[in-house]
Every structure is written in C-alpha cells, then in structure tokens.
Amino acid sequence: MPLIEVIDVSKEYANGEETIRPLDGVSLSIEEGDYVSLMGASGSGKSTLLNLIAGIDQATAGKIIVAGTDITRLSRGKLADWRAANIGYVFQTHNLIPVLTAYENVELPLLLLPMSASERRKRVAIAMEAVDLTSRAKHYPRQMSGGQEQRVGIARAIVSNPTVVVADEPTGSLDDETTEQILQLLSRVNEELDMTLLMVTHDADAGERARRRIRLERGRLMENGKELQTAKLHTA
C-alpha cells in the first residue's frame, strides 16, 4: 500500500471574480522511502499540491491519504497534531524563528510531542550532527549564512523522525555551491535516514536528483511523459 495517496484532488480559489483551479482532479501515489521531485512552471500548482499533502491547505475535492489517515477529513486541531507527528517541512526561505537559537529552532517540533527533556536533547543532538551544525547550536538565525539557516531548517524537519519530509523550493534562495550542499544533504536524508521525501523545485538539475520526477502541467500530473492515473475517487 502506498504511503501517500492523492486521489482525484482538485483545488480552486477565488481571485477577485475569477476562479483559479491549479489542480483539477489529480491523482498520485508515493511509496515509503521514495524521493520524488515535483516540477512545473510558476503557478502550475506544484506548491499547492505539496501544501495539500503536508496538511497546511485544504483540498476543494478529493482525498489525500497519508500512512492510512485521510487527512482531508481531519479538523484544524487534529490536522495540527497530525502534522506535528508526521510532517517535516523545509521552507524555501528557511523560516527559522528569529528569537530562538539554532538548537531551540530544531527542538521546537519536539515540544509538541510527548517526549522527555533528555529524549529531546538526544534527538536534537543527532539532527544537528546530521546537518553538521553542532558547533552553531547557540547561534541565532541572524548570525548564520543562508546555507546554514537552511541546514537548520532541514534539521528541524527531520528531528521528529516524520513520516514524510516535504521541501518547497529548498534551494530557491541559495547560491550554486550552497544549493549543491543542500541537495546532497536532502539525498542523505532520503538514503541514510530512509525518510520519504517530496521536493518541489523549478530547478531541473535539482529535480534530477530525485528517483521519481513528476511534472505538473495545466493542472495534470505527468511522469515520464504520461499522465499519472490512479484509482479515481468513487462517490455515491
């Protein structure tokens, strides 16, 4: 059974009097341990799909099942709990909390889980080591470079050992050298930590690093030149 099942999902929103429909009945399956890149032109809906899978946006129609949970049926509060336990989110602009140190930023998701302080310390230490930033633990975001901030962001995403790590343009604001470091780090997250990784990118080179490369074109998902077809949602 796939880890993630996106079934016949549509998303529309109003922009003034116009209704925009970035996703129109798309379906997708992702297996556990996959590394999937999602590419497409600006405004094609790739970030929208990522946000729907991450549970921070609501689909207009369809179902999204992650590790057996239909997240489209969860209330806001339950969805937040679900995200805390299952999703690691890497943002394009890092989005670290400026008043917290690197260590505290990484520890933040663990504060939402039932966990002892010693267990939290252990996990943060492992995550900081994984991104090679142990020496920067007490630094604030303003004291770090963009690449270091993004590595802290990745440590924050993996620290709770989530079901899925989603990354929205994780190299979008970085120079070439740092981009390479971050892409290598994400590959390690997938291969060494065996985490399922879904990455949105507009950078073809970055997309090539993934094992599966999916494109969003005119609201449809394409893989290897063919539209992805999975079981359609049956409504009574």
Binding site: I56, F91, P98
Partner: protein, 380 residues
C-alpha cells in the same frame, strides 16, 4: 504550553522598546488607578468606620470651618447627663488651612486623660507623661512626622502655633495619623487668643443602647434657645457633610480610575495587535510545525497577559511604595482623608491588570489562530 513560555519571553524581549513602553504605560496607569482607589478608600473609611455611627459630633450651628465654631465648653456637662451618653470629649481644632489642601496641618486639643481614653493611638516614640506634664507638648501622627521630618524633641511652628514634639504615634485610623494632638487648654490659649471656655466641637460617645439620631435631636433641642445653637450629627455624617465638596470631586475622580483601565486595555491591545501583525508568518510557521490554532491563541494571550500583569504589578508596587512612604493626605475644614494603601486595593490592581491583559489579547489571539497558513507563509 509551559514549554513555550521562554519563546514568549524572547518574543517580548525582541521588541524591548515596545515592550518597555507598554509595561511602563501600564504601570503608570495602574499607579494612578491605585492612587484613586486609595483616596476613595480613605473617604470610605471616614464615613463608615466603626465609630462613624456610634459617635456624635456637636458643632456650632451653621458653621463649617473649625476656626469659626465656638461652643461653650460647659455644654459638655449638660450633654453628659443625657441618657445614652457614655462620655463627652471637648475638642478644640486648629488648622493652618480651612480649604482643601494636600499639606494642611490639623491640631486637635483634648484633655490628656480623655485623649488617652478615647483615641486608639500607639506611641512609636516619646511618652505620655512628658505630653501631660508639658503645656506646649504635642503628639504627632506618624504620617505628619514622616512628611515634615519630625521626631521627639523637635520644636516647630505652624500658623503661629509653636509646639514641642513629645511623641510620635500610630493609629489604626489612617486619618488620625495625619493629626497633631495637643492639650486642650494649650490650643485654647494659642496664638495669643483666650478661648478658654470654648471648644470647636464636642465628641459624644454613646453607649450600646442609645439611638444616635434621637439623641442628636435631643442635644440640638436642648441648646436651641441657648446662646449658641448646635448642629449634631453622627461622626460619619459630620465628616461626609464637611467633605461634601471633596466627596463630589472624589466621586468624579473614580471615573478617571475606569479611564486608566481603558487606557491599559487599549495600550496592551495595540501592542499585541502590532506583535501579531509583525509575526503573521512566524505564527504560520509554528502552525506548520504542528502548533494547534488554540495554542497560537494561547501564546498571544500569554504575551498580552504578561505585558499587562508585569506593568500592573510594577504600578501597584509603585503606588504602595509612594503612598506608604509619603503618608499623603488631603484635608478640608479640619477633616483629613488619608491616602492609604491596602492589601485588598493592591490585589484589586493586580486582578484588574490580569483581566485587562486577557481581554486585550482576545481579539489579536483569535485573529492569529484563524490565519490561513498558506497565505500567511507568503506574507513578507
């Protein structure tokens, strides 16, 4: 939620200028609130104390300022014979200012033995025998002594009345801590006057069975045809009538107290709204990480609560310190209202700041918790 308290403190510290301004504004408003409360409390204590209803004050008819009331002292013996009267205390009053003043000095001259028997005062320094033995001796209330820097052995003159301090006393009645007691005869002869045989007022202490109103009428009736007519009221009513103008002003001033609460509410709410607007994206990130909307609401509420409560506690502490160290009071026509800090008033101030903090955080907290994550993440 407690795990996020350091984050809340750090967020407040991040905008320390804004935080300090809000806290200090709240502190000043709560200081004023408590100050007004202390004035009202002082007024209430005068008109509703234990002896306010069981003691009668006999004053010269149609006289208000103590300087102008001159009752024959022998009225004392006539009143003492009336049934229900336990004791009559003749009192001569002198004040350096009959009008409302923050630094009016009020002397009360009483026979020493009656002063000792009918005033619940506790000497902090000096002794009774030195007071009784010396003609120009004075017992000074602790608040006057603090305000004027007086101690035993000091000689001072106010409005041509020169006395030597032979004791500093403390009374459970805050108003009395602002009085200076002398011997009756000394005050009758003070300033070169010869007022022996006249007093400003007679204080009539009743026994438990007496009806104050009926007795007051009886007293006024007895002297109706005499050389000097009298007006007799309970002590509470006398003080309320004497301070009527001030009471009206104090009644109006309590609205300023409510205005202070409103000010704190708007100040803390403004700061909290600004803080939420500054951190729309940050709250969206926290929600992405898995913070429930209710917890975001709680974080904002905690921030607002901390701002208001810290400011409130500082303001309350400041007012208690100010009032207790300065012993401030206001007097009019020889009656003194003491601005007295008290534990219930301090508690009231803290509770007000807590409630205001909660109220101020409600709307911004709700707004922060209802923000759509995706659109907030796009927020610059």
């Amino acid at each position: 939620m407690l795990k996020f308290i350091p984050y809340v403190f750090k967020s407040l510290w991040r905008h320390r200028a804004r935080t300090l301004l809000t806290v200090s504004g709240t502190a000043v408003a709560l200081l004023v609130f408590c100050f007004i409360g202390a004035v009202q409390q002082g007024m209430l204590a005068l008109t509703s104390g234990d002896d306010a209803g069981r003691t009668l004050i006999v004053f010269q008819e149609n006289r208000f300022c103590p300087q102008s009331s001159r009752l024959p002292q022998d009225y004392e013996s006539t009143i003492a014979k009336l049934p229900g009267v336990q004791e009559v205390v003749p009192v001569k009053v002198f004040t350096n200012n009959c009008r409302a003043s923050l630094d009016a000095i009020v002397f009360q001259g009483l026979p020493p033995e009656k002063l000792k028997a009918w005033r619940d005062i506790d000497l902090q320094s000096g002794n009774w025998s030195a007071f009784s033995d010396q003609d120009d001796a004075a017992l000074v209330g602790i608040d006057v002594a603090t305000r004027r820097g007086l101690s035993v052995g000091d000689k001072f003159t106010i409005g041509d009345v020169s006395v030597v301090v032979q004791g500093v006393f403390k009374s459970p009645s805050a108003a009395e801590n602002n009085l200076i007691f002398t011997q009756l005869e000394f005050l009758q002869r003070a300033r070169g006057a010869n007022d022996v045989g006249t007093v400003t007022m007679l204080e009539v202490h009743l026994n438990d069975t007496a009806d104050p109103e009926a007795l007051a009428k009886q007293i006024d009736q007895a002297f109706h045809a005499g050389p000097v007519g009298t007006t007799t009221r309970t002590k509470g009513m006398f003080q309320a009538d004497t301070l009527a103008d001030l009471a009206e002003l104090i009644g109006f001033v309590h609205w300023l107290g409510y205005a202070c609460v409103g000010l704190v509410l708007s100040l803390v709410a403004t700061t909290t709204v600004m803080s939420v607007q500054d951190r729309i994206k940050e709250h969206a990130v926290l929600q992405t990480l898995g913070l429930r909307p209710l917890r975001v609401f709680g974080l904002v509420l905690t921030e607002s609560l901390l701002l208001s409560t810290i400011g409130g506690i500082l303001g309350v502490a400041g007012s208690v310190l100010l009032l207790s160290s300065t012993g401030m009071s206001i007097a009019a026509e020889g009656v003194t209202i003491a601005f007295e800090p008290s534990l219930p008033l301090a508690m009231q101030g803290v509770v007000v700041s807590v409630v205001v903090g909660l109220l101020a955080g409600l709307a911004p907290g709700w707004h922060a918790s209802r923000t759509e994550i995706v659109s907030a993440l796009r927020h610059a």
